[in-house]
Each structure stands twice: as structure tokens, then as C-alpha cells.
């Protein structure tokens, strides 16, 4: 049944349906409702919720729970994610699966609590120390916050790696209908987990490899799984892109604005289309190249100073001119603003 749900609440609903039974976190606007719903709902389904003393502690509690083999998560916003980066690096190094939600707010520093997409580099490119990747999904609706949280759990377990649900304050705070059905959560066997049992007594969870060759081997094995993910996991959505001369590229809340801008443009006879990455790592670069095949221009719109822009440029590799439109500080461009931006250029070019 379709029910109204706040984005942040949908995260926990999706997580519970995915079999997550442990949440460790610390409150922060605009992500607090994630912790609040976890506190309310998880204990009712036999799960654990704990408000940690800091995000540093929270992510290490996640590390402990994940080492024991349970599906576990945390959620926060930029400043909290900065504090978690150490733990995320350890999780990746120890090959522990978990899900972390970042409801992005304005930065750097304390910034503000309004929506921004300035954490792209920190979450998609790394942020913590060492050679590792996060799997990153980018929901654009409340329904997707639930669904992509579920997907994040699956991918985290499949690749034994942290998976990040990256959204912005608007997606976390908005209310939309969600349609969720109970389903059997399929949690894979985790023979590596340390459960304090005879069967798991010989198991060791660690990220330390003192010998250079050993650590290199460990990293090569991680690279191999990242290569597999890069082949198998990119996801994207197209809207009116088939014959688009101007291809708009944006994720999360921006993609919603761009969708409206495409509609407006089409009404005026402008051939605009939308490419929306659903996974940010792995970035759907090949699909983007295909979608931009007929485009004369690509316009990237972000609530950042041009972070995903770099991945778009890398993927397109000079095939199509790439332009960039940015709003930051908590400003979200309106449909008209985006429309004006590219429509005037189209007319000027014509």
C-alpha cells in the first residue's frame, strides 16, 4: 500500500526490509530522523539501536557488528561523515560490509543545514586514507531512499565493502508516497565473521598486513573486486535522452529539477534529455557516453563546485562539450533557472 513517508524514515524502512538489525549513529541535521526512526523501529523487530558518543565511535561500533556478521548501518551528514572517514577506511581494509547514509548539507566546516552535494569527492573518491572505494548509490525520491538502501546492503555484502547512500537534505526531508512490500531478506553466508563460536574461532578480521607483499596482494584482491563492481554495478536512468541535443546530467534532488527542465524544454520544442547516475561509484560512464552520442552539448548541474563534473568529463573524454551549472550554500536551482541557462544558449547557438 502506498503510504506517505519522510525520506529519512524510508531509509530505515528499507534497511529493516533488507534484514538490517543494528544501527549505530549520532544525531545531526538534516539526517536525525534516520537515527530517530531506527531508535523507534529497530528494537520492535528485535534489532539494536544505539546512540553513540560520536560518529567516530558509531562507525567503529558498525565495524564491530559487521565483523560479527550482522547487517548494520549508520547515518549522518557531512560533518559526521568527516569523523567517520577513519572507520570507513578500516572497514574497507578489513573488507567489512556496512551501509552508511550521508544526507548532505552545506559545507565546508559547519556550513549550514540546507541541501548541498559537496560530499561527492569525500564519499565517491575516498575521504579516508589508503587505496579503497566506497560503493555509492544516489537516490532521488523517497521510494528510492528505501529501495537503494536495500540495494546498498546487497552490494555491501556482495563485495564485502562499505556502501554509501548519498543524498541531500531535500531528499532526506521530503515526504512522498512509498510502496513497500515485505520480502524475505536474503543475507548471504558470512563464513569469515567472528561470532564467538567454535565454528568461527579461527577467524580473524583485520586490516593490518605488515609485510609489503602481503599488503600488495590484499590490495590487488580488493582491486579485482572493484573491477568486477565497475563492470557489473553501474546504474543510471534516462529521460527523453534518445534524441537529445542537450543532455542534462545530475543526480539526487538536482535530477528532479532537471527532469522538470527537460519537460519545459520539450514543450518549447527544444530537444533536451536527462541522464541521471543512480550509482556514483561505479560511475555509469559507458552509459553516459552512449546517451551523449547525439548530444551537441552536455550540461552538468550540481549543488557543488564541480565534483561529479570530473567523472562526467573523464567518461566523455572530450567527445562532447561539457558545461557546468552550480548552486551551492543550500541554494537549489529552480526549473526556470536551469531552463534559462541552457535554453538561452541553444537559441544563441542557433
Amino acid at each position: 500500500m502506498r503510504q506517505l513517508c519522510k525520506g529519512n524514515v524510508a531509509v530505515i524502512k528499507g534497511a529493516i526490509l533488507a534484514g538490517c538489525r543494528a544501527y549505530y549513529g549520532y544525531p545531526i541535521t538534516p539526517a536525525s530522523e534516520i537515527a530517530e526512526s531506527a531508535a523507534l523501529l529497530l528494537p520492535q523487530v528485535g534489532g539494536t539501536f544505539l546512540q553513540a558518543e560520536s560518529e567516530v565511535a558509531a562507525i567503529n561500533m558498525v565495524y564491530g557488528a559487521s565483523a560479527a556478521g550482522v547487517r548494520v548501518m549508520s547515518g549522518s551528514s557531512g560533518p559526521g561523515l568527516s569523523l567517520m572517514q577513519e572507520g570507513i577506511s578500516y572497514l574497507a581494509g578489513a573488507e567489512l560490509p556496512c551501509v552508511i547514509v550521508d544526507v548532505m548539507r552545506g559545507g565546508p566546516g559547519l556550513g549550514n543545514i540546507a541541501p548541498e552535494q559537496g560530499d561527492y569527492f569525500a564519499m565517491v573518491k575516498g575521504g579516508g586514507h589508503g587505496n579503497y572505494r566506497n560503493i555509492v548509490v544516489a537516490p532521488a525520491s523517497v521510494q528510492e531512499l528505501a529501495e537503494l538502501t536495500m540495494l546498498a546492503f546487497e552490494l555491501a555484502d556482495k563485495y564485502r565493502n562499505p556502501a554509501v547512500v548519498l543524498c541531500d537534505g531535500f531528499v532526506g526531508q521530503m515526504v512522498e508516497p512509498v510502496d513497500l512490500e515485505e520480502r524475505e531478506a536474503v543475507v548471504p553466508e558470512k563464513p569469515w565473521a567472528v561470532e564467538g563460536t567454535a565454528a568461527t574461532r579461527k577467524n580473524l578480521v583485520t586490516s593490518i598486513y605488515l609485510e609489503s607483499d602481503e599488503l600488495e596482494g590484499h590490495q590487488r584482491q580488493m582491486e579485482a573486486k572493484y573491477a568486477l563492481a565497475a563492470r557489473e554495478e553501474p546504474r543510471h536512468e534516462l529521460y527523453q535522452a534518445e534524441d537529445a541535443e542537450v543532455l542534462l546530467v545530475g543526480y539526487g534532488i538536482v535530477s528532479r529539477v532537471l527532469r522538470s527542465a527537460v519537460e519545459k524544454a520539450r514543450q518549447e520544442g527544444l530537444r533536451a534529455g536527462l541522464f541521471r547516475p543512480i550509482t556514483l561509484w561505479p560511475f555509469p560512464g559507458r552509459a553516459l557516453v552512449a546517451a551523449a552520442a547525439r548530444a551537441k552539448r552536455v550540461l552538468v548541474v550540481e549543488l557543488s563546485n564541480g565534483q561529479m563534473l570530473e567523472d562526467v568529463r573523464l567518461a566523455l573524454d572530450g567527445r562532447v562539450p561539457v558545461e557546468f551549472y552550480s548552486r551551492v550554500g543550500g541554494n537549489v536551482p529552480t526549473t526556470e533557472e536551469v531552463h534559462t541557462r541552457f535554453a538561452s544558449r541553444v537559441q544563441a547557438a542557433a
Binding site: V45, V56, Y63, I113, G169, E182, E195, T197, S260, T335
Partner: protein, 502 residues
Amino acid sequence: MSEESMVAVAEIGAAQDDFELLHAKSPVFYPVYERKSQLKQQTHYCPGCGHGIVHKLVAEAIEDLSLQDRTILVSPVGCAVFAYYYFDVGNVQVAHGRAPAAATGLARACPGRVVISYQGDGDLAAIGTAEIVHAANRGEKICVIFVNNAIYGMTGGQMAPTTLVGQKSTTSPWGRRPANEGYPIRMCELLATLEAPAYIERVALCDNKNIMKARRAIRKALEIQRDGGGFAFVEVLSPCPTIWGLDAVAARNWVAEKMVPAFPLNVFRDRKPGPLPGGGPEPRSVAEVLEIEARTADDSSKIQHASHSFQTLTVKVAGSGGQGALLLGQLLTEMGLREGLEVSWLPSYGPEMRSGSAHCHVCLSKERIGSPLISHPDVLIAMNEISLRKFSPQVAPHGLILYNHEQLPEHFAPPEARIVCIPASEIADKLGSTKAANMVLLGALLEETGCLGADTALRVLDEKVKKIELRNTNREALEAGRQFVDKEVWTGAETQPDGFAG
């Protein structure tokens, strides 16, 4: 010679079978340290180091209490980072200082298991101060072994939080000066101020008598875990001959002569372990908790597909905090959902809410909704003058503004939109609750635009408002809003008797 070296020698000796084995190595230790890259017969600890003794005491306690198959050892950053080389139990290696947090996650995921957090002084009392204090304060069911040797050993002799006053280190080259570095921190005393811990004791590896005391303390801490758990903390004053620049015997004496006076040996807490007060909720099914009961015939009857005059209708509701602007938006959204529309509701959030103004965007559409952010609303419901002034310029041409007052304010340049002034707060006051002003405005909106059905409003109100008196007031307010528009606003007019000054 350290205990481990003796053990290693004993192993080799046993293999050669040329002397009688008096004391076999505990089976909780691996016979050969395969996880160690070199010299797999001996430990990486220096001769005379306290870690070897503590390892042995822990391993023997695990063995004697039959906990080997129930134990998870969390190893820290510091010299004991490689504890997993030796202990044949479940092992988890963690980040510097974070062992109590990781142990919390482990202990809660594995109830009934024995989780040991083994930490040094830099790990526990400097970088991990927050984690240990809060794990203790929550009474986590973990056993903490805190090896205090007053120095950073692994990194080569830097100052520890427990370095003694005057003690030289590579980062306190003139000796620890309280004026610059403060005093050595006494963790047992600090943690003993908390209510939750079950057991806190400080022991010292300065002589055999005290080593036997340490043995008893460690066993007790593990017994507490075996018997249902509680936070148990054993601080072990421990020699570090290599960094201290002393031989093994002199180092032991240094523990007795220098460390014990600064860190008094004592049992700081010893209470019967048991659960702390407070229980959890009764478990329910996932479907119940998430309110996603299996689809029934009743569900489809909840959605009533009405015919709507609009393709997409966007509404901005704005007012002061407490006026119910956000709730009004939510009700509209719920109503749209009930009438089979696509809907979205986007609030202002955070400090803006707390500083006294609140607004939200409602989008009702027959199609998938693009941007939930409305730049030019079809309808503005302005619940106060500030909102009217701030947002009316955004209203779409030929849109509608509902203003909560009997007339427009002075010096207000009305935009190109139809404006209806309605003293909603006054009307609500007369009905007994100023808070129902939002319902008056909802009634007015429905009557004025016919965008959604009044019967849908009544059904949603009845479901969402649990208090009967409040429900009746809301129904009356909704009706009053409708009647006001019906009677006092000349439908279809460009102006409203007392309001529109354009």
C-alpha cells in the same frame, strides 16, 4: 627472560624431549604463531615486557573458565596490535583507541559471548578516552584489559597520558611537566565515578605476589562475562624495559617504586553484575512495525480516484512556527494521495523552524513529480504578514493567495494573483482553538478551488487526529472556512470586499 620466551623454550624443549615440562603453554595460545611472518616459535614482545605475562594470564583464564569457543578478542593499536598472532580465539583487530566501540558492536551482535578489549595506555587513555568512558558508562558487557606502561612502546617511546611527572620520553625530552602536559591520568579512578561498571581494579606486575593478584583480577573480569556480563575493567601496571632503558628486573622494580605510588593498587568497584534497569519493547512483525500489512480489499477503497481539474497543482503554505503550516501541507499531501494523485511535501527544516517561521511546498500531480521545490506556486497560503510579503511575489500569475487576515496590510503591492483575505485565526478563536486556523484555511482552499474533495479532507482528518474534541473543532473549522468563502467572497471576482486593494 620473559614468560613468552620461557614458553617458547619450553615448546622447543618439549619437542626435543630432553627435560620435563612443568608448565605447558595454554591451549588458548596457538602452538606455533603461523600469523606471524618470522620466528613463529617466539613472540614479538621484548624480553621482560609485561604483555607476555598479561597474555598468559588471559589465556589461562579463558582456558580454565572454558571460554575458548565463546571468546572474541579485540586487539588494539600499540604493541598488542598482534595479539591475534597468539590467541586461538575469535580475533578482531581495530583502529587506534576504538576497541571499546568495536567491542560494543561485537558484544551487542553476539549476546552471551565473551568480548575482551585489550588496550594500551595511549590507545585507551589518550586517543580512545571518549570510547572507553562511554562504553563504561553504558555498562557494556565487555572485559577491558588495560595495560599501562607509562609510555608509547610500539611507536618508540613517546609520552603517554600515563607518563609520570618528570618522566622523560621522546616527546617530553625535559620530563613530563604538568605545566605543559598535565598530570598522568588515572583511568580506574575516573571510571569509578560512573554508575554502570560492575568491576574496576588496578593491579601491577611488579612481583610474583602482585602477578597472582593480577591473575585473580583477570579471572574475575572474565567470570563476570561468563555469568551474564557487565563492564569489567582491569588496569595492569606493566614494565616496558626496552623503552624505559632498564633490564627486566630493574623494570619490574620501577613499576613498584615509581608507578604504584602514582597509580594506587585498589579494587575501585566490585558489585554483583547483572542487567541494568530498563527493558525494550515487545517484538512485533516487520509488516506491523513498518505498517505495510498485506494488501487487503480495504486498501484499494482508501484510494478514491477523483477527477481533477488540474494536471499539476503546487501549493506553498507559510506561517509562524506553531500555526500548523507544515501540518496543513501534510494533510493536503495525504488527501492528494487518497485521491490517487502523485504527491510530494517538502518542508523548511532546522533552525528556520525554531526561529519561528515555517513553510512547506506541496505538489499534487497526475504525473510523476519532477522538482518538489516550487518556485512559482499556484496557491500561496500565507498564515501571517511576513509570509505574505515574502512569498506573494513568487505566486504564479493568475494564481491564488489565501491570506490569514481580514484585510491586506498597508503598503502592500499585490501581485498579479487572486487574493482572498480570510480571518482564519479569529474564526478559529471563536470555535475555541486558535490552532485550528490552518483548518479554516484548508476549508477555504477546498471551497475556493475545488482542488480536492471535502469528504477526503474529513476522512483524513478523522484518521490523523486522534483526540475526539480536537477532531470536532477541526471539522467545524474546516466547515467555517468553506462557508466563509461561500458567503463572503464573491466567487469569480477579482476583488474581495475588505481585502484586495488592487
